[in-house]
Amino acid sequence: MAQSTFDRRRVNGPEESFPPVFDDEDDGGLGWVAMRNRGAEDIRPIFLQPGLVSQANGSAYIETENTKLACAVYGPRQSKTTTYSERGRLNVEVKFAPFSCVRRRAPLRDAEDRAVAIAVHQSIVSSICLELFPKSTIDVFIVVIENDGTEGCIASGSIAASTALADAGIEMLGLVASCSASVRGDEIRLDPVEKEVAAADGTVILACMPALSSVTNVYQSGRVSAQGALKCMELCQGRCIDVHAVMAQSLLSSRASMP
């Protein structure tokens, strides 16, 4: 690690580290088939709990098998910048814990943090009534505790952020649900894990507000046919309705349990 990026306040770990190589990791030719223990159009079960961070205005913790992340919302509070803005600002920051990936991630900001943050921002920004919060900022902080693919992080991050915003009582047009899909050949698998993404030709992430049946974000990478992408989006939108029910249920039960 270069001297300039050396952070003395942290335990920095060794200069170089390598993930252990396991014998059974190489599962031969049927990797793509063996990777799946659920149906192609099934998504991983979601555990969603709003209101875990007590000092935040709103928060949510989401866990879908190996993707685990926590989200806290602060605001709306006064913008730090002096310039007047008629609409509120939404600020999304994503942080990967150093132990969140197979390889250790340095605690400094890197490009992937920002890419995920941009995608989550795009997913939720059109759901918030920002015109109601002039001169204010809403801060959304997401910490990825365990990472199982960027696609899963973006989708779960959007779900958690939207739930946390609702938990904070910020006025929104609707809850944003999100789902990802991977395509290999003609086969579409929803909610892929990291290995499936690596083996796929391309991926699609869709974020939408099922209550209004409007799409807030489409994020596609890799090689997909136009028809394939549309098919993915349709399937994702179908799943988003289910995710929306999970979000609504978790918000309701957290309100009910409050004194």
């Binding site: 920002r114 799409v215 994020y219 090689r223």
Partner: protein
């Protein structure tokens, strides 16, 4: 990217776009592009390079010197570096980088400029560095050495539609790229000649390479490479007809238009960037991004995607024709340069 516009200006731009027929400040119809200029081979020290400008009114050099600008201008250059390969990897990589000239964004503070750069870099990286686009001929010595392809782009001026311009420049530079032809070199102990002479391989007899008397394992064969001395600068990248072009659809509810100027960009609520490639005439989607605070729905996206394919195909055909022309010019120039040097 976004210049501050007043509410009135935004309303003016929107209402004229929504009027029938749609009106734009520069008199274009919604599906018109501004004039696009492409030039390849502009950086002599790079393995491939291109300059693309959108909306420059004068393309001749004399007028350019007068400072008649006002367009989006992007330069992309590819440099190949020899890179070691780790265990069990095929090797070779594509690394993209975007830098924005502060002159193009005088209104942005330097952290905002950094953010913009990293955003564009991550878009470019997620599209062009994707394993599905990886060119196979970046490998030099399998398992040992490979070319690391570094694609650097600089935005010199931004007058709107920067991503389309950027992707066009990247495609032009990658098509222009020549991978130096290499020959593998093998060291062998003298006296142990191979019975089957391999004419593609240059056997260095004079040196007693890494194999010593104590060496018990099988010699690995090819250990190094050398550059072939040939008039041509090398071969083109493999599968170069799959580097995509980008079409940005600017969406105002009920209509969409192409190639927005910076004013138009800040007046519209939602943009859809669609990246298409047409290898062998077959359309493949290589990326899709939404930007802005508006919303859309699936039926609208379906229509937009169909239109985007049509626009992208037009752009693709135009760019192909121009690149073929540039390539003919290039090989003539390269040949002249080589023979001219020989005669001297």
């Amino acid at each position: 990217m976004t210049t501050a516009l007043s509410k009135v200006e935004i309303a003016y731009i929107r209402s004229s776009l929504l009027s029938a027929p749609p009106l734009r400040a520069d008199g274009r119809s919604p599906e018109d592009f501004r004039p696009i200029a492409v030039e390849t081979g502009i950086a002599p020290l790079a393995n491939g390079s291109a300059r693309v400008s959108i909306g420059k009114p004068h393309t001749s050099r004399e007028k350019e010197a007068e400072g008649a600008g006002g367009g989006t201008e992007v330069v992309a250059a590819v440099k190949l570096e020899v890179d070691g390969v780790g265990e069990d990897k095929e090797g070779g990589k594509v690394v993209c980088n975007v830098s924005c000239s502060p002159a193009a964004y005088p209104h942005l503070s330097s952290p905002a400029l950094d953010d913009l750069q990293s955003d564009l870099t991550s878009v470019l990286g997620s599209v062009l560095s994707h394993p599905s686009l990886y060119p196979k001929n970046l490998v030099i010595v399998p398992g040992q050495k490979a070319w690391a392809l570094r694609l650097d782009t600089i935005i010199f001026a931004d007058a709107g539609n920067v991503l389309d311009c950027l992707m066009m420049a990247c495609r032009a530079a990658l098509v222009d790229t020549r991978v130096p032809s290499t020959r593998s070199v093998e060291y062998r102990a003298p006296g142990k000649r191979n019975e089957v002479p391999d004419d593609t391989m240059d056997v260095d007899e004079g040196r007693n390479g890494p194999s010593s008397l104590l060496e018990t394992r099988e010699p690995s064969g090819v250990v190094d490479f050398e550059l072939a001395d040939y008039w041509d600068e090398g071969g083109v990248l493999e599968a170069r007809d799959s580097w995509p072009v980008c079409v940005t659809l600017n969406m105002l509810p009920t209509m969409h238009f192409l190639d927005a100027t910076s004013q138009e960009e800040s007046a519209i609520p939602l943009r859809l960037h669609v990246l298409f490639a047409f290898p062998g005439g077959k359309p493949t989607l290589h990326g899709m991004r939404m930007a802005g605070a508006g919303t859309s729905d699936l039926s609208q996206i379906r229509v937009l995607l169909k239109n985007a394919e049509k626009y992208a195909r037009n752009m693709w055909t135009g760019l192909e024709a121009k690149l073929a022309e540039e390539e003919a010019r290039r090989s003539i120039k390269a040949r002249e340069k080589f023979y001219g040097r020989r005669r001297r």
